[in-house]
Every structure is written in C-alpha cells, then in structure tokens.
C-alpha cells in the first residue's frame, strides 16, 4: 500500500496530531522538570480516589475481603490498554494498604497476559509490607477470557464473598452494570472508574464513587503523591487549552464557511 508522505518522511494526515502530541509531551516534560526543581502544582481533590482508604478501612472493620479489579481490557490496545495500566496502578496501592491493615484482597482477572502482572504487583506489595507469607496466589483469580463468563464469575464472587469494598478501575464494557449492581446488592462500598464513555452512566448510578474519563489515568499519580507524577498532570492542561482553542476556532471558522482548521488537521 502506497503511503503519502509530507517532507518525504511524515505520513500525511497525521502530522497535525504529531505536532499536538509533541507539544503536550513537551509541556508534560517541562512541568516534571519544574517539579524536580521544587515547584509542584496543586492538584484538585478526587473524591473517588480519596475514598479508597475509607473503603479499605470499612472492609477491615467488617471483617470482609476487598475485591479490586483492573477492567477486562488487555495491555495491548492503544485506547483501553492504558486504562488497564491505570487500574494496575490503583491495584498496587490497594494491595499495599490491604497488606498493611491485614485485609484479604481478591483480584478477578479476565486477560491471561495481565494475570502475571497483577500477581507480581500484589505479591511485591505484600512483601514490601513485610507480610509476604500472607500473599495467596489463588486470590489472583483468572475467571474467564469470555466477557460474560468473566462477568458471571465476578458476580458469583461478589455473592459468595460479600466483600466490604469493591474497587473497579479500568476498561469495562457491557458487564459494568451487572458488576456494579451486584456489588450494590451485597452492600459493598464501591469505587469505580472508566474512560469508556458508554459505561460511565452505569457506574455513576450504581456505585458510591466514580472516576470519570481522565481521572482514571490520574488516579495512580494522585495516590502515589510523587511530585513528578503530579506535575505531569499539569501537562494535560496545556493539551486542554489547545483542544479548547481548536474547538472554538473550528466552530467559528466552519460557521463562516472556512475550512482552514480542517485543512490544517488533514496535513
């Protein structure tokens, strides 16, 4: 297949995207350098992330386990893979806290390639808390690679274990409603989060706290309290400003019959 290029090297139609990407990456890198120099931006509070400790504490008080899942996506997909990474970052924090307070943590897994990563994250968290002997590999459960096989297994897990907390952060599809509703029925405190726009309403109505869109990706940075990670979030604001300018300019120019923005974006 012949590829049309700009300047003989850049693929046509993707140059504008590349420029935007480089600007946002540059801004992110700039804010990270600023943080290294001691200038850390203030981060708005994320109620859903703040509630994770509360949910873990509640589960411990009730003597019930915690279920923490990172979604059903693989690590490979360009749009949903990063949600799995974000979910694993949250899992890492939850595992550390669960190990510290002595709560049982169950991790349902759909993708076989993610299972070793999840198991490694949890096992190391237990070892770092000095409780390596309390880690149980059978609590990192591969349920099914089939979407609804996973869903029915997860619901069964919720009904049998009756967890004190059910944390679901990652990419979910049609099973989101089933999981959140079942979690609600068993009385678990639920914290959810996804960037799948079609599933956000389900999580919003059926769980106690819901992380929406970009908050999912920020959760790991927020929980780590690492100045460099927090500073990287400020780079997103530059992207937001660019997006706003393009939307406003595009709307105005298209209204007066100009295709300038469209032409630039097609470059």
């Amino acid at each position: 297949m012949a590829v049309t290029t700009v300047l003989g090297i850049f693929i046509q139609g993707r140059v504008f995207g590349l420029v935007c990407l480089l600007v946002i990456m540059g801004a992110t890198a700039y804010f990270i350098r600023q943080a290294q120099a001691g200038k850390v931006p203030t981060l708005r509070r994320l109620a859903g992330v703040d509630a994770i400790d509360e949910a873990i504490g509640r589960a411990v008080e009730m003597g019930k386990p915690i279920i923490c899942s990172h979604g059903i996506a693989t690590l490979r997909d360009a749009t949903t893979g990063p949600q799995t990474i974000a979910g694993l970052s949250v899992l890492s924090y939850v595992a550390r806290r669960a190990a510290e307070v002595g709560a049982r943590l169950i991790v349902p897994v759909r993708q076989t390639e993610v299972w070793p990563v999840a198991a490694d994250v949890v096992e190391t968290a237990y070892k770092l808390a000095g409780k390596g002997s309390e880690y149980k590999v059978e609590d990192i459960q591969f349920l099914s690679s089939d979407q609804f096989g996973y869903s029915s297994n997860y619901m069964g897990l919720l009904m049998r274990e009756k967890p004190g907390a059910n944390i679901m952060i990652g990419a979910y599809w049609a099973e989101s409603m089933q999981l959140a509703e079942t979690g609600s029925r068993v009385g678990a405190m639920q914290i959810s989060g996804t960037a799948q726009t079609s599933q956000i309403p389900f999580f919003l109505v059926a769980t106690d706290y819901c992380l929406i869109g970009e908050e999912v990706y920020s959760a790991g940075a927020y929980l780590s309290k690492d100045p460099q990670l927090i500073a990287s979030l400020a780079g997103q604001d530059v992207g937001r400003i660019i997006a706003t300018i393009i939307v406003v300019l595009g709307g105005l120019l298209t209204t007066v019959g100009s295709k300038l923005i469209l032409d630039i974006m097609a470059w």
Partner: protein, 219 residues
C-alpha cells in the same frame, strides 16, 4: 546475575523501547521501523498463546483447591474443571485425529452451552439497568432532576406508544441525544485522550511505575 535481572530498570527500558517501536511508525514512514513494528506484533501473538496456560493454571489452582477442601459449592468447581479440561482437549489443533474447532464435541459445547449462556448473561443486563434506574432516577436535587427528566424523555421518544400520539417526542429525544449528550461525550473523550497522552509520557519517561511490581519499588 538473578539480582541484575530483577532490577526495575529492565522492564522500564523494555517498555520504552517497544512503545517507541510501535508509536513512531504511526507518524513517520521508515520502512525498516515499519517492518520491526509488524514483526513485534507477531511476538505478541506468541506471548499471548503462552499466556493461555497461565489462565488454565490459575483455574486449576483456584477450583482444584475448592474441590480438595470440599469448600462451599465445591461441586460447581468440579463442573468448571471438567469443562475446562474437556474443552481444552477436544479443541487441540490436531485436525488429523479429529480434534480442533471442527470437533463435534467442541462444536456442541461452544454452540449449545457457551453461546447460549453468554447470550443469556448479555440479555439480563436489561433487568440490571431497570433496578439501577429505579434507585437512581429520583429527583433529589437539580442535577438528579435533570437526569430524571432527560431519561424519561429518552424513554418516551423511543416508545412508539407515545410518539404515535405526539411525534415531537421523537424530535426532543433526538435533540437530547445529538446535542447535550454528544457535547458531554466529546468533552469526556477529549479529556480522556489527554489523560492517556500524559500517562504515555509518564510511562515513556519511566516515572509511571504503578503497573510494575509493588508500584515500581525495589525489593
């Protein structure tokens, strides 16, 4: 040697290199890099094929222990174990001996058990939505009232019983779907895309370590 292999820098380095090999050819046309990206895609298939065994091992660990300990509902674990083993055996890619995805037992299990069960699970979502809607659609405050009214209008606009008597219901529903809903949807999509880019930058710079063992902390 084993200590060197367990250093956290190794997975970070591999992540950076393989991410760049996949991302750069999307924007820049360099034939050898393009070939390398395609070649690595094949590696992924091999890793995935091997990872399948991880799933089987996990199932055997969890359900095998349930059966051995006669835990509550252990007989369900027996069913899982039997079907996992039968499906894996009859599905082996050995067409010469009648196994594989054309095997009648495999086809029976797939067409008459797995598919109907999967379809049933999918279809019962409607009932979950109904019970969640019953709890959520309450006019507790202004925001909840907007959700309630919008939801009702969307329901009405999709019900011929109402649109046949007053056709503008359809127009109202279409407007809610195409204007306020779409605007919000796009805002969330743009925000999520920016968050995704920031996550990618953090990963490429090696500072996003949450997905690594123990959040990237050295043991």
């Amino acid at each position: 040697m084993s200590n060197i292999l367990r250093r956290i820098e190794i997975p970070i380095f591999l992540t950076i290199v393989f991410t760049l090999i996949q991302v750069v050819p999307y924007y820049v046309y360099i034939q050898p890099l393009d070939d390398a990206a395609s070649y690595i895609q094949r590696w992924i298939l091999i890793v995935l094929a091997l990872a399948t065994f991880v799933g089987v091992i996990s199932i055997l660990q969890v359900h095998g222990k349930n059966v051995a300990k006669r835990s509550k509902g252990w007989y369900f674990s027996v069913i899982v174990l039997v079907f996992t083993i039968v499906m894996a055996l009859v599905g082996l890619p050995l067409a010469e001996v009648g196994l594989g995805d054309k095997n009648p037992v495999y086809l029976f299990l797939f067409n008459y058990m797995l598919q109907p069960l999967s379809g049933t699970m999918y279809s019962i979502i409607a009932f979950f939505i109904a019970s969640a809607a019953f709890r959520a659609f309450r006019a507790r405050n202004i925001e909840a009232s907007i959700v309630l009214v919008s939801g009702l209008l969307m329901l009405i606009s999709n019900a011929p019983l109402f649109t046949v008597f007053w056709p503008p219901f359809k127009t109202i529903g279409t407007w809610i779907f195409a204007v306020p809903n779409m605007a919000t949807n796009r805002a969330i999509t743009i925000g999520a895309a920016l968050g995704l880019i920031a996550l990618a930058v953090r990963t490429l710079m090696g500072i996003e370590r949450g997905y690594l063992r123990g959040g990237g902390a050295e043991q």
